[in-house]
């Protein structure tokens, strides 16, 4: 399978990239890791006339700590996240999640920016970013703006990105010391998108949940924050009745598609189970 013809551009700066994307209009697509876009091009489900390859832009690489915030360049790969000591120390839930994305070869190429900006409901990082309260830096020809992850996703493949804008980095507040975390993902096989997945970040005090955020992957057209489910566990010791209540509250906001991963009822059911497992595992890690 060979993609349709296109012109290849490799800008060296973000300014040049957004100028190209803006001038070339709808027929241009940014190319990050390419592991969503290139297969789509081979199937001719995507036929861009221009590809703007972001690999030549040094400013989009790198992982750094800025006070209590971790800033990750859009072109940082999943492999680089896994190799980063800073991520391992401050945001171990990113490692846990990255390891569940695709396979080793794909993780050498796949980028966090592509995972976040594509708007694919099956991507794992978006719900995690909502759970962590992250924000995205979007840059266009008229300047830069910050958009909260929770405000970014509007529908399947439909995001707050305006034509010509690029997601250039993500800023993640470092969770409290001693926080518990877990990303539970049910998938049919290595490399698959989630049948259902849940991210939990919480803190415990005196054996009870003090703060909690829950995110859901591939259980709606967009990633979801399960706010009622999170509220239901605050002040509890995550007893079985509370876990069931949280799962039910999470299931109430799920609207998964029926597809090869299962019918709607099944996906909601296992979605609830992912929430319960993630809550328990996160609590076990909190100190």
């Amino acid at each position: 399978m060979i993609p349709g013809p296109f012109s290849y551009h490799r800008p060296a700066t973000v300014a040049d990239a957004v100028k190209l994307l803006s001038n070339l209009g709808d027929e241009a697509r940014p190319l990050a890791g390419g592991h969503s876009l290139v297969p789509m091009m081979k199937l001719r489900l995507a036929t861009p006339e221009h590809l703007v390859d972001l690999h030549g832009i040094a400013g989009l690489k790198g992982i750094r700590r800025d006070g209590n915030t971790i800033v990750i360049g859009a072109m940082a790969t999943q492999h680089e996240l896994l190799a980063s000591d800073e991520i391992g120390r401050s945001l171990p839930i990113l490692d846990e999640t990255a390891l569940l994305i695709a396979d080793p070869q794909v993780r050498y190429r796949g980028t966090i920016g592509g995972n976040l900006a594509n708007g694919d409901p099956g991507n794992d990082m978006p719900a995690l970013m909502m759970t962590l309260g992250a924000s995205y830096r979007l840059e266009g020809t008229s300047g830069a703006r910050e958009v909260a992850a929770s405000e970014f996703y509007q529908g399947a493949y439909f995001t707050a990105l305006e034509p010509g804008e690029l997601l250039t980095s993500v800023a993640i507040p470092v969770p409290a010391a001693g926080h518990g975390y877990a990303y539970e993902k049910l998938k049919r096989k290595v490399g698959d998108y989630a049948t259902a997945a849940a991210a939990v970040v919480l803190t415990m005090a005196g054996g009870k949940v003090a703060t909690c955020k829950i995110g859901l992957t591939n259980l709606s057209e967009t990633p979801l924050l399960a706010e009622d489910a999170a509220k239901a566990v605050i002040g509890t010791s995550l007893d079985p009745a509370t876990l069931k209540k949280a799962a039910a509250a999470a299931e109430a906001i799920m609207s998964p598609a029926a597809d090869a991963r299962g019918p709607v009822e099944y996906r909601k059911h296992v979605g609830g189970i992912m929430v319960m497992r993630a809550l328990q595992r996160a609590a076990g890690r909190a100190s």
């Binding site: 399978m1 060979i2 993609p3 349709g4 013809p5 296109f6 012109s7 290849y8 390419g34 592991h35 290139v38 297969p39 091009m41 081979k42 199937l43 590809l51 390859d53 690999h55 492999h79 695709a102 396979d103 080793p104 070869q105 794909v106 050498y108 190429r109 290595v190 490399g191």
Partner: protein, 166 residues
């Protein structure tokens, strides 16, 4: 579409060719460079048969454009034998442990295992299985592939290979 002049290093030799932007790296390697050891399997980034080593990364060469490999340093299965032509530890492991039957997946398996052992010279069985989880074999059931990689790791580390009891 105009062709681009591409230069890269493959198995230690500087090579060049002309390719359209849409030419996939695996096609460039197989057709322009006439090195057909790298296989095309699923063409959809699942099977790993086209895996090559690029600048220290295992990459599925069906999911990257040749023009993106401009200036890269690539190793393919043709570059895996020792300088004197003898089999490398991984190749020998696949031979000794019967790590292949039809052999279609083998170039990709060996290239992936090559990078895995560079990053983790003494992997556990689980680490090997996760390490090759992007490569599909339809013959062996993976048992002997895992053994082949364990054999190579032992040989590289200069220790005796002991097959685990089944």
């Amino acid at each position: 579409m105009a062709k681009t002049h591409i230069t890269m290093k493959v198995n230690g030799a500087e090579v060049e060719g002309l390719a359209e932007p849409r030419t996939l790296l695996v096609h460039f390697i197989r057709e322009n460079l006439q090195m057909t050891g790298t296989h095309i399997g699923c063409e959809t980034t699942h099977c790993g048969a086209c895996t090559v080593d690029i600048d220290g990364m295992s990459v599925k060469s069906c999911t990257m454009f040749a023009v993106q490999a401009q200036g890269s340093d690539i190793t393919t299965i043709e570059g895996m034998a020792n300088a004197d032509g003898s089999l490398s530890a991984l190749q020998e492991g696949f031979r000794m442990m019967h790590g292949l039957q039809c052999g279609f997946c083998t170039p990709g398996m060996i290239m992936r295992a090559h990078r895995l052992l560079k990053e983790n010279p003494s992997p556990t069985e689980t680490e090997i299985r996760m390490g090759i989880s992007g490569n599909i074999c339809r013959c062996t059931g993976y048992q002997n592939i895992v053994k082949a990689i364990q054999y190579a790791a032992a040989k590289i580390n200069g220790v005796e290979f002991r097959e685990a009891a089944e």
